[in-house]
Every structure is written in C-alpha cells, then in structure tokens.
C-alpha cells in the first residue's frame, strides 16, 4: 500500500544519506551497457534514461565470477582463505520483473539450501524497486504474473507519478530506511489516485503478450515431440546470451586457478546452452541442440512450476532483445503443439 512519497529532486539527497551507511548500487551506463554498479554519490541522471539493465541484478549476488577460497603456497604448506563479505548494500532501481527473479533465485540459494556466498550478499542487501513505465517491445512481464509497477519482492517500491515518487513500504527493513529522512512526506489521496492512473497506463504499455496458462502441462505433453523442438531450435546458435543475461538462470561452474604460487577457487556462470555444459563429470546429456533448447524452455515453464510452484520466467525480455538470431521464447510458448488434456477437477 502506498503510504509515503518523495520529491524527485530529493532523490540524490536520499541516496546520499543511504550511501553513508552502506554502498548504494544504481543503474550505471558504461559503453552503452547498463548494469547495476556502485553509485558515484552524485549522478542521478539514470532516472531519466534508465529502462532496464543489460546484465541482470542477479550479478550482485551471483557475480559472473567470484572467489570462493584463495590459497597460497607457503614453505610449510598451503595458506587458505575464505573471503568474508558482510558489507551492507542497497540496490536502487530494480524493476519488478528482476525483483521477482531475485525472489526466484532465493529459493535456490537461500531457502532450501543455504549457499554461503549467495546468502551472505543477499541478506545484507535491501532492494528498492522502481516502477517501469517504459517497457521494451520485447517485454512481456504481464504475461508472467508480474506487474510493472508493483512488487512484493522488494523492500521499498518507488513509483513515478510525475514530479514525485510514491512509495510502498513492503518490509520493515525498507521502512527503517525512510524513518530518519525528512524528505519523505505522507502520500495524499490525490497521489494515490494519480498512482492508480499511472499503474493502469503502464500495464497498458505492454503489448507483447503470451498465454502462459497451462504451459507446464502443454510442455509435459509435447516433451517428446522431437520434430517441434528440432524445428524451433534450428536457428539457435548455442551461445550463452539468453542464459547469462536471464535474471533467473543460475547455473555455475567451479574451477581452481593457480599462477605463480597464488591460486583461487572460482565460481562462475555456466550455461545449459553450451555444448560443453557438464562435460566435467562425463558427458553432456544434451548433445543435440534441440535438447538444450528444450531444456531452457522446460526449466522455466515446466520444471520450476513442478518443483517450486512458480514460473521461472519473469518476462523481462532480455533473451529476446539480445539474442543474435531473434530467437523468441514467446513464439515458442505460443506455438507449442498439441491439445492440453482438460483435467476436470470437478
């Protein structure tokens, strides 16, 4: 529920206050590439140009490569160190689709199994959501149960209503961030009405739509339809763009490196699109391209719902927008063959 608001002019001050306590991460553009990176304590121009990042915010918790342990050869053996990282950070400007994605990866790394490296970063991070009113033509979040202006997956949710942002306080951690600040005002009824209008207009802007109802059952029934998978995978070139830049893909690989007596164990992104995926234990069970393509679709829309009750696609559209061959997952979902057998629960 919207309770507070802040004037846009005060954002720099607000971020400045936060930046004294912990590091503030904002959308940053370098060489045309937008990603979440440390704020320089002055530039808030991103509020004008920012639509979404190229590298998804998952990189803040699951960096592309990170040191798990470092080791050094000494005369009397190895000196081993595990990096300790407990510094607090605030990510400002995460979009609802990406916030949902973080919640989805949380289930993998921080819920059922507690991954030290992921959760030490995650539990020290507050997410400040920013509503999205300028989606790309590849975005289809409304088809995956995400509202571009609303999120329960953040600590605070900011929504642009013109000269001001209205704020929803989602968690106590988020609430506490606003307590000390004099720039935060109470939202009026008029603000809330304005927000309603913006919300409706923003949702309306999402033109790309795909019916994801029953898609898990459809996928189940056409899992062995090799013709279909061969046909839709034909143009895929098996690069890692869609998976690396997917906000919910989390596959990783672990490698030891040693150069000149210094070494480290690294964890880095891996991708099921690669032909060499999982070659390290033995072989890749998905040698043919269509199997790898099928895996990606099924993982998002069949296996996740089966295991965790949620689609692992949040409709951010990165995989469509950045694909070298315009492989479009919505077309593949929409084109799934076969009738869904109607399960009558009645």
């Amino acid at each position: 529920m919207i309770t507070k608001k802040i004037n846009k002019k005060d954002i720099r001050k607000l971020l400045g206050t936060w930046n004294q306590e912990c590091s503030v991460i904002v959308p940053t553009r370098e060489q045309g590439i937008v990603e979440m990176a440390g704020w320089d304590n002055k530039d808030i121009s991103f509020l004008d140009w920012y639509r979404n990042t190229v590298v998804p915010p998952k990189a803040c918790f699951l960096p592309q490569s990170e040191v798990m342990i470092s080791f050094q050869k000494k005369e009397n053996g190895l000196k081993i160190e595990v990096p300790q990282d407990e510094h607090k950070q605030i990510i400002f400007g995460i979009r609802p689709c990406d916030a949902r994605a973080v919640a989805i990866i949380d289930q993998v790394f921080a819920d059922t199994y507690d991954d030290y490296y992921y959760s030490s970063k995650r539990r020290n991070t507050l997410l400040i959501g920013l509503s999205c009113s300028n989606p790309y033509d590849s975005c289809f979040c409304t088809s995956t149960d995400v509202n571009p202006t609303e999120s329960e997956d953040v600590d605070l949710m900011f929504m642009d209503i013109g000269d001001e942002y209205v704020i929803e306080e989602i968690t106590s951690g988020g609430k506490a961030l606003l307590n000390t600040s004099s720039m935060i005002k109470k939202a009026t009824k008029a603000d809330i009405n304005k927000a309603k209008e913006v919300r409706a207009a923003s949702v309306d802007k999402l033109k790309k739509k795909v019916d994801t109802k029953d898609v898990d059952r459809k996928l189940q029934s056409c899992f062995n339809d090799i013709d279909y998978w061969e046909q839709v995978s034909a143009k895929c070139i098996s690069c890692g763009i869609c998976t690396f830049l997917c906000p919910t893909c989390f596959c990783f690989d672990i490698n030891d490196e040693m150069i000149k007596k210094h070494g480290a164990r690294y964890r880095g992104w891996d991708s099921c699109s690669f032909r060499s995926y999982t070659k390290m234990p033995m072989e890749n069970p998905r040698e043919e391209k269509w199997r790898r393509v099928r895996q990606r679709v099924c993982h998002k829309f069949e296996f996740y719902p089966m295991n965790l009750g949620i689609n692992a696609c949040t409709g951010c559209g990165r995989c469509i927008r950045l694909c070298p061959v315009n492989w479009d997952i919505t077309q593949v979902i929409a084109g799934l063959p076969g009738e869904i057998s109607v399960h009558s629960g009645k």
Binding site: E30, Q31, G32, I33, R51, V54, V55, Q64, S65, Y136, D137, S138, A234, K235, I237, S238, C239, G240, I241, F244, L245, D253, N255, E257, Y266, G268, W269, S271, F274, S276, K279, M280, K289, I320, R321, L322, P324, V325, N326, W327, D328, T330, Q331
Partner: protein, 337 residues
C-alpha cells in the same frame, strides 16, 4: 537498387515488410527448389519478432517460403548453419555470406554440390546502434527508418531526421569488398548501390595504431574486463566451425573458463588468429556482442594483415587453397631471422 524498395510504413506494418520485386523473385526461386526436390532445406531471412529485426529462417516447408524477406536488417551470416544442416541446402547469400560459404568449401567443411547459393545484391545493412545514437532513442522507440541510396530518413517521436546513408550503415559494410556474390547458382540481377566510406570503416583501428603498445594493451585489457564469455562471437562466426574449441579443452587447459580479462583476451586473440584467412569481415562478432566490445577492430585488423602479407582475400575463389594450408616458397621476409 533494392534499398529504395524498402519503405516500412510504421511500427506495426514494418513487421510485415513490404514485398519487393526482389523478394518475389527470391521466393519463386526458393519455392521451386523445394518443390522440385533440388534442395531439402532453404535458409533465408524472415521478419523478426521485434521492430527492425529479421530472423534466420531454416525450413523444409514450402508454405514458409513466403516469409522470406530482403531488407537492410538481414544481419546474420547464414553460412554459419551450413555445416550442421543435413542434406542439400539452398541458401540466401549476400556478398559477405557468399564469401563465408566459399571459405567453408575451401576448408572442406561443406561440399559445393550440396549447396545451392541464391545470391542477392547488397548495398549495406543498417547498424541499429548508429541509428539509435543519431535518433537519441532506442530501437523500439524509433518509428520508421527509410533507407535510400544517398540518405536515410529516421522518424522517431514525431521528429524526422535525414542523414547520409554512410552514417547508419555498419562499419564493415562501409568497407565492403563484395556486394554481389561471385559464387552463386542463382543471382538476383539488380545492381547494388556503392555506399562506401573506407576511412570510417576502420577508424578505430587507425586510432589504436596511433597509440603506444602500452596504451593499446590497456585499451584491450579494459574492453575484455567487460566480456561475459557468452561465446556469442564464436557461435555466430561461420569461420568457427571446430567441433571442439580450444577454450573447452581441459587437458591441457589453455584458457581458464573463469571470466577474467586475461583469459577473455587470450580467448579472443587466439580466436582471431585461428580464423585468420577465414574471416570475411562480416562484422557479426561485433554486432552480437551483448557488452559492446569492438571485436571488429580485432578481426578487421587480422583481415587486413593477411591481405597485406599474403595478398589473400578470403572466400573470393572457391578453387584457391585455404590460407593456412598453403604457402609460397618465399614470403613474409624479414620477420623470422
């Protein structure tokens, strides 16, 4: 002049691009090939799902032939698919694609008799990143791009802008050396507009060469700090046809799979050297890079290097031996003592 024929009339209609005479001719020919059983597959371009995009079409279905398009956004180098597609294949080829096809034949990756090349003249492709910069708007916010031989009209947010065509074409197109395929089985008989700007085509390379070695190394070090090792550059490259790439070798392990600038740089440097004499400067590696590393400033330099040292132009002569399999008794003097 096919450029004139491309006149998308708005955001929604440009997804269904106007059928030009060339497209008609192409569809007819491709349809005939499938129908008569001359080929098992046709590889071409279809409209993409997003504005100003196209997508590779690989089909054995005659009904899909009507989706074939020709326009200034047919980026992909379709030769990439040839080694992996079984049977006989009809492939639509721009000049650069045809060079890659020839190079694959030279390298004995495909057999000439299995391929039917449908050549199309190409006047250059539109680099959307350049258009975005000129328009100050991102691709999906641009309403219309009309490409003429001498100028391009960009309409975005009600504003219309006219710029010389040389300002929106890909750098590699500005330096194109083969607009009309030399090797083909069927060719659409249209001239291509000569739109060139050799200077801007390799502007960054010239700038890099003015730097000291240290500065150049620092430049690449910085660039490869951005690399995410998605391997899109390799995967999209027709010259990269190895069954197994050296980066994936584990015994011995040449390059660390961990993304760090050192290994990212070594990967790309070796990739560039390995494809020396196979690279046709089609520019795909740079176009697909999701983090905007100027990869063509590597590949084009290599392209020029082998051109200067061995007087070799990739993919121009189907009967010539591949660069690295051949030699002259005396060459490259003065570099080895």
């Amino acid at each position: 002049m096919w450029l004139k024929m491309f006149e998308p009339s708005g955001p929604t209609t440009c997804l269904v691009m106007k059928v030009s005479d060339m497209e008609k001719e192409l569809r007819q020919e491709a349809g005939k090939l499938l129908e008569e059983g001359t080929v098992d597959y046709i590889i071409g371009f279809a409209p993409g799902s997003l504005k100003f995009t196209t997508t590779p079409l690989i089909t054995e279905d005659i009904d899909e032939i009507n989706n074939l398009v020709i326009n200034p956004f047919i980026n992909n180098n379709l030769a990439k698919y040839l080694p992996e597609i079984p049977g006989r294949v009809g492939i639509i080829a721009k000049g650069c694609d045809s060079r890659s096809i020839v190079s694959l034949i030279q390298d004995k990756q495909i057999a000439r008799q299995d391929i039917v090349i449908l050549g199309i003249p190409c006047s250059g492709l539109v680099d959307l990143k350049k258009v975005e910069k000129l328009a100050g708007k991102e691709r999906d916010k641009i309403d219309d791009i009309v490409v003429l031989a001498d100028k391009v009209c960009i309409t975005a947010g009600g504003e219309k802008k006219e710029v010389p065509t040389t300002e929106v074409l890909f750098d590699h197109c500005l330096g194109c050396e083969l607009q009309i395929p030399k090797e083909y089985d069927f060719l659409i008989q249209e001239p291509a507009a000569e739109i060139r700007d050799y200077e801007s085509s390799s502007k960054q390379i010239q700038e890099l060469k003015k730097m000291s070695p240290d500065q150049r190394w620092a430049f690449w070090k910085e660039q490869f700090g951005h690399c995410i090792r998605c391997y899109a550059c390799r995967q999209v490259c027709p010259a990269c046809f190895c069954e197994r790439c050296f980066v994936e070798e584990s015994q011995p392990r040449w390059v660390s799979p961990v993304s760090q600038w050192q290994d990212n740089l070594i990967f790309q440097a070796i990739r560039t050297i390995h494809v020396a004499g196979r690279c046709t400067d089609c520019g795909e590696c740079e176009r697909v890079c999701p983090v905007n590393i100027p990869l063509r400033s590597l590949s084009k330099e290599m392209y020029d290097l082998v051109g200067e040292m061995f007087d070799y132009k990739t993919g121009m002569d189907v009967n010539a031996p591949a660069l690295m399999t051949a030699y002259e008794l005396v060459e490259a003097e003065g570099l080895i003592r």
